[in-house]
Amino acid sequence: MIPSSHKGWGGRLLWLVPLVPTLILFYLPLSVIFVEALKGGEGPSPFVRLFSNPYTFRVIGFTLWQAFVSTVVSLILGLPGAWLLGRASFRGKRLLKALTAIPFVLPSILVVLAFVIFYGNSGVLNRFLMGVFDLKRPPFAILYSFSAIILAHAFYNFPLAARLIGAFWERHSDGPALAARTLGAGPVRTFFSVTLPGLLPAIFSAAGLIYLFCFMSFAVVLVLGGGPRYTTIEVEIYRAARISMDLDMAAALAAVGALLTLSMLWITVKMQHRAAHTVRGQAARPGTIRLSGNMKVLWGLYIIMVILVVASPLLALVGRSFLARTTRSGPLVWTFKWYVALFSETGTSLSLTAVKNSLIFACLTVCASLPLGLAAAWVTTRSRGVLGRLTETAMMLPMGVSSVVLGLGYFKCLALFFPDYSGSRAAVVAAHVVVAYPFVLRSVSASLKRISPSLPLAARTLGAGTFQTFLTVELPLIRSGLVGGACFAFALSMGEINATLILARADTITIPLALYRLIGAYRFFAACALGSLLMGLCIACFLWIEWMGGESLDPERE
């Protein structure tokens, strides 16, 4: 630690960079809604109503349990991927990296459809198996069960785990592991007693985010789980806020949810800090292990699994967008008609406007959430003790509060402070930034915590200023964390819908909004087409972000 580095005005001002936006854009609307709701109306307090019902405990219990199982499964599936992304060098690595954030850009309804198209009873997988083995019934009946929920959450999150942990692993020193091997430890023992503990800061960091994401899950749990047997808190919040219009209850539920996520985050942040102390060491150069022989087969198998879980549902969705039936029950043929419909039915302007708006929002979100997330990571890693952990937890919370409740809060706040508000693009970007920058924070802070204090200290001793030290020593070491954070911020902004609907001007349309409208108007295949466009667009942008981040196109050259 260099206590002196955050003394003085510069250091203190740096605290304000992430704190002020979080307070204004997140904690203010949230407290407005809580205060409003807890002032109470007639009848018993919402908390009494909530906790006098055993159903509430069942819902809370299930929410925690499914989030826990999903997190563990995602981490286990993600670890090999993290090694691939972090240590190995192979062709197509950049594309694989770019693919990791794709699930996040798709609205949940499209993810559900993608799963059904691929894994469903009459989905691609089952029809294929039935055709090959001449079966009467679909052999692979995973949907509408608890496993389906876990599978879908793994779909979203194990790429995230691989990306976040991989960014950390990339600069992880091989020294201790090599030393262990030299001293006679086998590869398995070395992994579990040296390598894995070394990765713990990144693992806890990823676990916190994944847990939040699964905790908030709503449509995926309901539809793929098969119905109300599997209900998360978010479903009940939605019901209270939007259907029953029982705002007290919605606020009470949201408060319980926020409390649970806060304590969970607190634990992961604490564990991350503790783990960081044990592994602080020199940062190594990026890994360049080439795959060969048996290793190739093993990794081939892993990649096949990745393709099965992540790529196949998405490819099925893309495939669907090019297929149509010629006659009533005639054969499926390839066609561009859904794409044509997308751009002709309402004139070319609509889809183009949606694409333009989405891209502008996403780019601005990345530009704003990078400095915010970086500043937040910087100040929280450099401050000791409870205060740093508390702030870090508090800054992560925007990921863990129901967007339904947050939307209501925004609405109340706007009515309070700007009575004439009629929607603005700046407000949309601000909301996107608040949702997105915890990803940057998480992605960067694991790498920052690992940088040995002696490195910047040495630079300072040699006469570099704080800023110069940052630019020349620290920035290069956290580069891949930043790039990953930027990709996820971009993806989250591209996929966001709730805040956009509330805060944007009435005629502002984005891609996910257009998607929902298509589906609401029976145009499912055109929606698949627009979803495919969205994915293609995002892959292109992720590759561009990586290139901007300075990662070489050719991994062999590094």
């Binding site: 159903y55 709503f218 109300p228 499912f524």
Partner: protein, 337 residues
């Protein structure tokens, strides 16, 4: 090159606060509506320009999500109303809207052309503009003998064949629960117990449920009796059919109301009149895929594929408001076992 792009990005960031809302316009009519009404494929692009041209009033249409949110937004702004007209108050929301006291009565002359049975608000706070019946839609390629009653759905042959929606999060889902209540009374929980084996999944929204259905995941889905019309009119297929139930179908009537304290009351009244006129009503069948309330409006040919039941079921708005929460709790208990 990269530095240049970085510099541009920094400039973008600096320009962010300047990228704010534009100014407001003068005299107009403000309408809150649900998203699929305002959508490019909804009624708005067909009827709003016609109204603007006819009346010379400039319309500001604001989409606030679902129809529940339309009412919610009006309730949140009760002290300082900004909207003049809210569109989307259906028969299940009516009692809630009245209790909230956010609407003010207006009896349009156009109501004379609306059958008595459809004028669901005797106080004229809400004016109906279209209606439909909840119905099971089935895939006729798979189901040769469609169910003919709610009871039929519980049959063994429809095991894991039905997709329903959750009444906690979806309008049609709530409609179906109320359907079972109006058909079975206090025994509706027993019915659901018998129905459970037939259910494949219960989705969060009509959109995901209908999406699962058109992807062939299950042969029966809860939707509207007019849904086949879309497939006939736009996809030229009569593969998807509505199952006519002899004991009747639960009904949904959609309406619009004038907000109490509306800033532009006269324009609002003109708009409600317009909603009942033929210019508006004739767009409903093929755009909203619902029945128009104006009995003088003729239906397109494709509507022969929509089931118009002889018997329609409805619950009293007051009863819904009073007992809704209890019904839903019973439902959750029954279905989650």
């Amino acid at each position: 090159m990269k530095r240049l792009i970085l510099a541009v990005m920094c400039l973008c960031l600096a320009g962010l606060p300047a990228y704010a809302a534009a100014g407001k316009s003068d005299e107009k009519l403000v309408i809150y509506t649900y998203d699929s009404f305002a959508s490019e494929w909804g009624l708005a692009p067909k009827v709003i320009p016609a109204f603007e041209e006819m009346s010379g009033i400039q319309v500001e249409l604001i989409s606030v999500g679902s129809s529940g949110q339309v009412l919610q937004r009006a309730m949140l702004e009760k002290e300082n109303p900004k909207a003049d007209v809210v569109i989307g108050i259906d028969n299940n929301l009516l009692a809630k809207a009245k209790k909230a006291g956010v609407l003010s009565p207006y009896r349009s002359k156009g109501l004379d052309n609306v059958p008595e049975a459809l004028r669901y608000d005797p106080e004229y706070q809400v004016t109906p503009f279209d209606y439909g019946y909840f119905s099971m839609i089935y895939d006729s390629d798979i189901i040769k003998n469609p169910p003919q009653s709610l009871e039929d759905l519980t049959s063994e042959k429809f095991k894991k064949s039905v997709i329903l929606m959750d009444p906690r999060t979806s309008g049609p889902g709530l409609g179906f629960l109320l359907w079972t209540v109006s058909a079975y009374g206090d025994d509706f929980a027993d019915y659901w117990k018998r129905l459970t084996p037939s259910i494949l999944t219960i989705t969060d929204s009509w959109s995901s449920g209908y999406g699962l259905f058109t992807n062939g995941e299950a042969p029966i889905v809860l939707s509207y009796s007019s849904s086949p019309v879309y497939h006939v009119a736009f996809e030229k297929t009569d593969r998807y059919k509505a199952a006519a139930f002899k004991n009747g179908h639960y009904m949904q009537i959609e309406g619009a109301g004038i907000v109490k304290g509306a800033p532009h009351r006269k324009a609002a009244e003109a708009f409600i009149d317009f909603m009942l006129s033929d210019a508006f009503q004739k767009e409903i069948p093929l755009t909203n895929i619902m029945f128009p309330v104006n009995s003088a409006t003729s239906l397109p040919e494709s509507f022969s594929h929509a089931v118009k039941p002889e018997k329609s079921l409805q619950l009293l708005p007051e009863e819904i408001m009073e007992k809704n929460e209890g019904w839903i709790s019973t439902w959750v208990d029954t279905v989650s076992k």
